[in-house]
């Protein structure tokens, strides 16, 4: 990042502002150093504990050696290739699961966001609370609850079996036999559930900003409700759709909790590999390389996606 900011930020503090004189103009010109002083503590924190670790990780990924003898930077880029060729199934699965969960979140979340924004009336705040409140309960406890909900022979699995849904999903490879737990379906269900609020809230924010008179205008021009939605509401909610999909897809693609708690060894995602390489196998170069590949892939996809969707002023 800009070194200019840092050196300026570390400069000695300016003299305190002169007290406002009893007569004359109030001080219009504020200290030139003030913004840098305000920024300095937080930015230094981010540079040291966010940017610098990325550099360390980059250097770790090109090291060779062993845990006992220590690691040296040998510019061994082959680690990237080896890691990719060994773990591409998990990488592909991450994109697939996270993508499916994002689409499901959009399909499930849009009606609820729409309901809160336009139809909820005096229930609006209550529903918003019910969407946000689960944030404060540990997400691990809630994810574990899905084990109960999807348990073998439980009511949900029973109902899906009776409706022959599981036959279809088994044929698609989403489930195995008459089980849901430890299958891709369970993992995608958990991912969808966990990141749904991250889709609903931005959608709600952008829907709420829409002027209700636009709907009336569309109706006056003989647009049917669905046409109004397609031509007016949905395009105007695009900023919410874009930030919602990003806020869902990015964390979902790196998540390893759902795949671990609800899945099996056949549903491992890239996050699971990074976690076990780092914390169990202690193969730091491979873990760092995988983590870097994930980061690069995400940044690339996000950039392309934001360009395509045409809303660059998201932040």
């Amino acid at each position: 990042m800009s070194t200019g900011t840092l050196t300026e930020a570390e400069a000695p503090p300016p003299p305190p502002l002169a007290p406002v004189p009893a007569t004359g103009k109030p001080p219009r010109k504020r200290g030139r150093w003030t913004p840098y002083l305000l920024l300095a503590p937080g930015l230094i924190w981010l540079l040291v504990f966010f940017a610098m670790p990325m550099v360390y990780q980059a250097s770790t990924s090109v090291q060779t050696g062993s845990l006992e003898e220590g690691y040296q930077v040998t510019w061994h880029f082959a680690t990237y290739w080896d890691a990719l060729s060994e773990y591409y199934p998990q990488a592909l699965r991450s994109v697939l699961y996270a993508g499916t969960a994002t689409v499901l979140c959009l399909l499930l979340g849009y009606p609820l966001a729409y309901l809160i924004a336009f139809r909820a009336g005096r229930w609006r705040n209550l529903i918003l609370i019910l969407v946000i409140a689960p944030f404060f309960t540990s997400f691990l406890i809630r994810t574990l609850a899905w084990k109960t909900i999807l348990s073998d022979g439980g009511p949900v699995v029973g109902a899906l079996n009776t409706l022959h849904v599981l036959d279809v999903t088994s044929w698609l490879g989403l489930t195995a036999g008459d089980r849901v737990l430890a299958t891709p379906l369970a993992v995608v269900c958990g991912l969808t559930y966990n990141f749904l609020p991250f889709m609903i809230l931005p959608l709600y924010t952008s829907l709420e900003r829409i002027d209700g008179r636009l709907h009336e205008a569309a109706g006056d021009l003989y647009a049917k409700p669905f046409t109004t939605f397609r031509k007016v509401t949905f395009p105007l909610s695009m900023p919410g759709v874009v930030s919602g999909t990003l806020l869902t897809f990015i964390p979902a693609s790196g998540d390893y909790v759902n795949a671990e708690l609800l899945g099996s060894t056949n549903t491992q995602m890239i996050g699971n590999v990074i976690q076990s390489q780092f914390l169990r196998i202690l193969d730091y170069p491979t873990a760092a390389a995988l983590s870097f590949i994930l980061m690069a892939a995400i940044l690339l996809m996000v950039t392309v996606y934001i360009r395509k969707s045409g809303t660059e002023d998201l932040v």
């Binding site: 990042m1 900011t5 007290p19 003030t34 913004p35 305000l38 920024l39 503590p41 937080g42 930015l43 981010l46 540079l47 504990f49 966010f50 940017a51 610098m52 670790p53 360390y56 990780q57 770790t60 009606p111 609820l112 309901l115 139809r119 705040n125 019910l130 946000i132 409140a133 689960p134 404060f136 309960t137 540990s138 406890i141 809630r142 994810t143 574990l144 609850a145 109960t148 909900i149 348990s151 559930y193 609020p197 990015i250 693609s253 998540d255 390893y256 909790v257 996050g271 780092f278 914390l279 730091y284 873990a287 760092a288 983590s291 994930l294 980061m295 995400i298 940044l299 996000v302 932040v315």
Partner: protein, 266 residues
């Protein structure tokens, strides 16, 4: 036909409520199973009604210890991230300076990064520096990833502030400190509180980053994670239910206060 029309009219409402049900189903299950008397180590199947876990929430070894550790961590992380984040937010909204774009992207990046990437890279830093993993490394990590969320929350509020209010205060001979404490801070307060609440929730609930940087320290989410392998005590459901209730109570109380203030003004 009447039914079909009714259904067509209510489609959005029905779909939305179904999603709400999907969102709340685990919370309902957690609540119900906090009254279970499980057989064996795992609490995944309903056996019989019991209030034993509610009367003895700390009855499991290490559970309340990890809970209090998580609360302490969240409190310090909230304090740190809120102070640092509020300063940054004011600088970004109120001042024009060089490298503003670079600063903005540095704030945005931690939110656009999968947690596992941040967790892993921070661990490589700590390993390279030979830092002792534990309370302090967790705290450093939590302040780091909560910071951006505080900046965004405070920025939104400060941006919608009318700068003329501060000019008016200065015209009335308020000094810079007085203006800040009596005018700026009270108006920015809702944004700062929102940012702080968000930071608290994020820090308290964080698992992925903590898992990488905790060493052998066990926070509450890590206790839950471990218990998923060893056997989940009912007390975990009790704590989960209690947290949900406390959150709802907090929000309802907050809304009641703003509602009353609005009525008093009117």
């Amino acid at each position: 036909m009447a039914f079909v029309n009714w259904l067509k009219h209510r489609l959005v409402v029905i779909a939305g409520l179904l999603t709400l049900g999907y969102l709340l189903l685990p919370n309902i299950v957690v609540t119900v199973f906090s009254f279970n008397q499980p057989k064996g180590r795992f609490n995944y199947e309903w056996q019989e009604f019991s209030t034993a876990a509610w009367t003895d929430p700390c009855g499991v070894a290490d559970l309340c210890g990890s809970l209090s550790l998580s609360l302490q961590l969240a409190a310090w992380a909230t304090l740190g991230a809120t102070v640092l984040g509020t300063l940054i937010a004011f600088a970004l909204v109120r001042y024009r300076f060089r490298a503003r774009g670079a600063v903005n992207s540095l704030i945005f990046l931690p939110m656009a990064m999968p947690e596992v990437v941040m967790a892993a890279s921070l661990l490589t830093l700590f390993l390279n520096l030979g830092a002792q993993l534990g309370f302090w490394t967790i705290l450093i990590a939590h302040i780091m990833f909560c910071l951006s969320f505080v900046v965004v929350a405070v920025k939104a509020r400060v941006m919608s502030m009318d700068p003329r209010l501060e000019e008016a205060a200065r015209d009335l001979y308020a000094g810079p400190v007085q203006t800040f404490v009596r005018v700026t801070l009270p108006i920015a307060a809702p944004g700062i509180v929102a940012g702080a609440l968000l930071a608290f929730a994020l820090s308290f609930d964080d698992f992925i980053i903590t898992n990488f940087n905790a060493g052998s320290t066990v926070t509450f989410p890590m206790f839950v994670w471990g218990s998923a392998q060893r056997g989940t005590p009912v007390q975990i459901n009790v704590i989960g239910t209690a947290m949900f209730l406390v959150a709802v109570l907090f929000v309802v109380a907050g809304m009641a206060v703003t509602h009353r203030r609005k009525r008093q003004k009117a």
